[in-house]
Symmetry: C2
Subunit: 274 residues, 2 copies
């Protein structure tokens, strides 16, 4: 990660000195939200969509950001200028603040962390193997900092030689911990619509036009996914990545699919043209 | 809270200078566990029970405490000596540590915070009004720092003039965010047994002997509680507090009950004799 500058409440501080008091509600009660986007050639991609979600998450959790959108954009710009990293990830965190009693929300702490990040095109061909796990995220539409399950289950992933989890609610497919899921059947592409985080990249994919291909929000179950022709995940950093297997069994022929590849190219185009 | 000393990873630091880097997994991913006990006349009450739960929580979340029980006890003793507060609360927090990628568990940070705390006997007569809320805690038997729902719903409590939430899973009574629940029907006392945190005070109450009264772990639904003769909560700081109403309707005659009062006296005796 290197030692870039981090923004904390209006100040730029070297990352290895960027600290919060232990009285912060994130430490005391896991209380916080965040959002995560990338810059390409110095441009924060789809930033207005991330702002929409971030401001909504804050409001859902009764947290005051303290900056309007123009001021938040300015804070990010100052950080980008200071660090001067063209291709990067930006994480904007808002915590419950320094709570006197460790329970009531205080004045939130706003933190923006920038890291170097280069999209690795070769990851597309490697694809992903997913492990299903029965779990419904709480407050699924809000981007909270709650990743207890995903991090706790990292050793299980290693044991099962899987790359990531796929959450389902008693068989109804939901999402991966940090990505949305899509499946392809014939010329139709489906992504779940219930009790999930609405990914920004997911939204962009839903708007892609390719003749003869329909893309829609529609729930499906694990069995549908296991019998799909193709599957892929979407995320802000990974863009589109093919899912090659589920619980050890190949999806389709176990290789990146045609429609997945076509959508991936369209998405990369949108990002480059932003 | 005053400015007491706080223990962080072997050091005693004034609370208003006790800090963690923002790369800690508690800030990044809400990843951490804790436990919470009190000292009375300088003695950490039932500490061996709290240690049992704390070490179990750490193990369930793949976190290394880095100290064995003797060493942890010594760390607490040093803090108690330094602060010299006889009646206090002790919060032991263990976080996911300074993660390089903000996702993998690193060397955990161990924090012990002491605050002044006097048990207020008059709170017993005031009792509590509870507001039911449909919510099943994730990883319920582990004392994680996840209090997203409880803190998010504080404004609702104010609106409904309730003192605390009572979680139920589609009608099956579970627990309060920071306390266990009991109900009394005739000479029988019940406390839920499924998908809850096993409170230390709850365990002590289950072991109280009063002639003619049976106390058992047995699940019940909201309707049972609404029609109970008496109800109360148990917690490490609140000991036993009568529940006087649920969702605005009185339980029993709406006053602290006879059996609740008898159990409360027995519990206070156990604490004073520890």
């Amino acid at each position: 990660m290197g030692n870039n500058y981090t923004y904390i409440n209006g100040q730029l501080i070297l990352e290895n000195e960027a600290k919060l008091l232990v009285t912060d509600l994130a430490v005391q009660r896991g209380y916080g939200i965040f959002d995560f986007l990338k810059t390409v050639n110095g441009k924060p991609i789809f930033i207005e969509d991330y702002f929409n979600r971030f401001y909504n998450s804050a409001s859902e959790m009764n947290l005051e950001i303290g900056l309007d959108r123009t001021e938040l954009y300015k804070a990010i710009s100052l950080l980008l200028e200071k660090n001067n990293i063209l291709n990067s990830s930006l994480k904007i965190i808002l915590t419950g603040g320094y709570s006197e009693d460790g329970y009531q929300i205080a004045k939130p702490n706003l933190i923006i962390v920038q890291g170097s990040f280069e999209y690795d095109k070769s990851s597309f061909n490697k694809g992903l193997n997913l492990l299903s796990h029965n779990y419904q995220r709480q407050l699924p539409t809000v981007k909270t900092i709650d990743y207890l399950q995903a991090i706790r289950l990292q050793p299980l992933l290693k044991l099962k030689r899987a790359d990531d989890l796929l959450y389902h609610n008693n068989g109804e497919v939901r999402e991966c911990p940090r990505a949305n899921i899509f499946m392809v059947k014939g010329n139709e592409v489906f992504t779940p619509n219930t009790a999930i985080l609405r990914g920004i990249t997911r939204g962009k994919i839903l708007n892609i036009n390719i003749e003869g291909i329909s893309i829609k929000e529609q729930d499906f179950v694990l069995d549908n996914l296991a019998n799909a022709d193709e599957a892929f995940i979407s995320s802000s950093t990974k863009n589109i990545l093919p899912v090659l297997s589920l619980d050890g069994k190949p999806i389709g022929d176990g290789n990146p699919g045609k429609i997945t590849t076509a959508l991936s190219e369209k998405l990369l185009e949108m990002i480059n043209n932003y």
